[in-house]
Every structure is written in structure tokens, then in C-alpha cells.
Symmetry: C2
DNA sequence: CTAACCTTGGACACTGCTGTCCAATACTCT
DNA sequence: AGAGTATTGGACAGCAGTGTCCAAGGTTAG
């Protein structure tokens, strides 16, 4: 299954043959047909499986931080750094990243898959960011008029930067810089710092 | 040619047949073969053509703002708003957007195309942003220690927001909101405002 | 008008992929 | 060990797409 996902991601649905999958896998082509009957069905099963795995990882990650609630000092920057770290972790998780790429290339022809992604993955992430930001605003640590917009900016900053540094190679100027965890961390932290500075004193 | 680009973008290279292209086009399949001889050659020609068009548009856009040089008041926010507007214009230009999507899906198998994009499109954009930021820093309007990082953040904020609002549909929570020029403009301006607030007083 | 050239559509060989069938083999469970 | 089940590889039909060929029209220029 991971092999299938990998091939679909790297070569696209149309260009991936069942022979490719079979040879990259401990099972034979015939067995694949026995199980799924169809290339299309296999494809959906692959997506489904990995989407569910992503969802579980997401929920597991969502449960963790709630354990240390609002009692601790409202240091906006450090809290947002935590949030940003979680965001990048989700974003860069190999499974999630592959799934994202696959949906991006093959999604337009699978609208219900996009819908699933939106409601089950993007939705929770957004609402978590929004709720954290409003909480920090109510606590007086930030001053945010439009939490949705601020959340959008936060997400764009953090994930965009993570994307740039890792998969970046594709479009950005400094050619593939060799993924460096430390470098990524400081870059993300710098984004959070920018965000906090921008939303600390003055209003929109 | 536009039709071919469109089909390649929407269906991917492998899934697009020459019959598709021929029927979407005023010429016949045979004529396509007479001109290009090969599907692969056609593909490269398509990319090449549109990449050159993108380059021309880019240079045309790059020439314009240089005409009003550094004499005018150093109002960081308005100048960066101009820059951001140009960035989004380039980013959302239909030709450029299609090309970007195509390179993203089909790029890994065409490394030299990626190289071209990097050096001829991404490179100039980055260096322009960097030079503007350093200029504003020297003029005392901003305080930026690491212009490359700041440029990265600026680009991520602006283009990421533009992407979210337009093509977004794909991944983000609020489903396709119907592209609204005004809405986009205020969102981008809000990003610039955030950036300026973040880089105005303090350092990092 | 005529000659050279280009386009068109239809036919076609060839290739590679999907999906099926089957007989041989390996595995599992009791 | 033995019955039932799953897996394997090989062969194969059907299909779709690429690239070629060609003969019939169209177009352009002298």
C-alpha cells in the first residue's frame, strides 16, 4: 500500500501501471486484482487508507496539547511556537505530504476526496488555529480583529515556509538546500516572531 | 497551443491524448505530427512557448516600477503594497499559473524545465523582493537583519494568500469562495500590513 | 492556370496496459 | 496429513493510444 501510494504520487495515476505496483510489492499483480478488482478501486482504497491514517495522526496530535490548559503563563510566542511546530509536523509527515500531493494532482477528478480532505483535515486544523488565536486575544496577549484572516496568515506563513525549505526545490530560487531540521526550526520560529510582532501592539 | 497547455494542465501529460488536443484545436492530429513529430516534442514546445511568454510578461512588469525611483517618499507600506500587487498579478496570471501547475505535476521528470523556471522566473522575483527590502532598510523605513529570510516570508505571505483565495478550493477550509478581486486585494494588503508592523520597530 | 506545398481524414501496424482465465503451487487450519 | 483457500505466473483477449502512410482535397505564389 505504501508502495502504491508512492508510485501514484511520483508518476501520477495514469502513468502508473499495475505491473509497476506489483513489482514494487511483495504480492503479484493477480493478487491485487483479487483484492480490489479494479485499478480505480485500488486507487480509492489507497487514498482512503492513508487518509484515515492521517486523520488518526491528526487526532492524536490534537489531543496532546489540550492536556496543559490555560493555566500556564500566556506567553503568546512560545504557545504559537508549539502550535507552529505541530502544524509543520503534520504538514511534513511523509504520509500526509504524499496524500496532499496526490490530491493536488489527481484531485480535480475526485471531488468527493477533496471534500473529505477539506472537512476532515483542513477544517480541524483551521478551527484549532482560530481558537488558539482568539484565546490568546482574550487573554490580552495578542490583539486580533479578524481571527479568520489572522489564522490564514499564520497558516500560510508556517506551512509556506516549511514547504519552501523542504519540498521547495520545485519552484523557489535557492536550489534544494538539503533539508536541515535546525534550519527549518529557526525559520519557522522567525515566522512566529514576525506574526507575534505584527499582532502584538497595534490593530489591523 | 493554449488548448494543449490547458489539456496538459487539467489532465496531466500521460492522460492527454493527441486526439484530445486535435479535437480541441482548429488543426488535425496529422498536422500536429507534421509540426512536432512527437508527443514529447510537442509537450516541450508548449512549455517552452508559455515559459517565454511568462518571461516577457515578467520583464515588462519589472521595467515599469523602476521608472519612479527612490526619490519619492519612503512609505514602506505603500511601496510594499505595490510590490505585492505585482507579485500577485504575476502569480495569478493564467498563463503563469497553468505553467506552474504543469511544472509541479510533470516537473520531476523534466528537471531542466525546473531549472529554467528557477533561474529565469523565481530568481528574478526573489532578487527584486530582496533588493526592495534592503533598500527600504537602508532608507530607515524598515529594520531587517536577514533580507533573504524576510523576502521569503513576504513572498510566502503574499503568494500564499493569493493562492488560498483563488485556486484554494483544493485544500483549504472555506470552500471555493468565488474569486473576488476586492476581497483578494484587502487580504493581500492585510498581509503587507502585518509584514510592515512586524519589521518596523524591533529586530530579530 | 499551374505547380509546389500544406492540410485533412481515414486506415493501419505496433505497442503497452487492463482485466480475465487457469493450472500449478504454497499456505492455513483442524 | 489433508481439505480448503489464497497466491502465483503465464497466457491471452480486448482496447486505447502513438506514430505512419496515403490519397484526396485546399491553399499560395508566380
Amino acid at each position: 500500500m505504501e508502495a502504491a501510494l508512492d508510485l501514484f504520487v511520483r508518476q501520477g495515476y495514469a502513468a502508473t501501471t499495475l505491473d509497476d505496483i506489483a513489482t514494487a510489492t511483495p504480492v503479484s499483480r493477480q493478487t491485487v486484482y483479487n483484492h480490489f478488482g479494479d485499478k480505480e478501486t485500488l486507487f480509492r482504497a489507497v487514498i482512503d487508507t492513508h487518509l484515515n491514517a492521517t486523520l488518526e495522526a491528526l487526532h492524536a496530535s490534537a489531543d496532546r496539547p489540550t492536556t496543559s490548559p490555560a493555566e500556564r503563563p500566556v506567553d503568546a510566542e512560545s504557545q504559537l511556537n508549539d502550535l507552529a511546530r505541530r502544524l509543520t509536523a503534520i504538514f511534513l509527515n511523509p504520509r500526509t505530504a504524499s496524500l496532499r500531493r496526490l490530491l493536488q494532482s489527481e484531485g480535480p477528478r475526485q471531488p468527493h476526496l477533496l471534500e473529505l480532505w477539506r472537512t476532515r483535515v483542513a477544517g480541524p486544523v483551521w478551527s484549532e488555529v482560530i481558537s488558539q488565536l482568539t484565546r490568546l486575544t482574550h487573554a490580552g496577549a495578542l490583539r486580533i480583529d479578524d481571527p479568520v484572516r489572522a489564522a490564514s496568515q499564520f497558516i500560510v506563513l508556517v506551512t509556506g515556509t516549511a514547504w519552501q525549505i523542504t519540498e521547495a526545490g520545485v519552484f523557489l530560487y535557492p536550489p534544494p538546500p538539503g533539508v536541515d531540521g535546525e534550519q527549518l526550526d529557526t525559520a519557522v520560529r522567525s515566522c512566529v516572531a514576525l506574526f507575534v510582532r505584527g499582532y502584538r501592539q497595534t490593530t489591523q
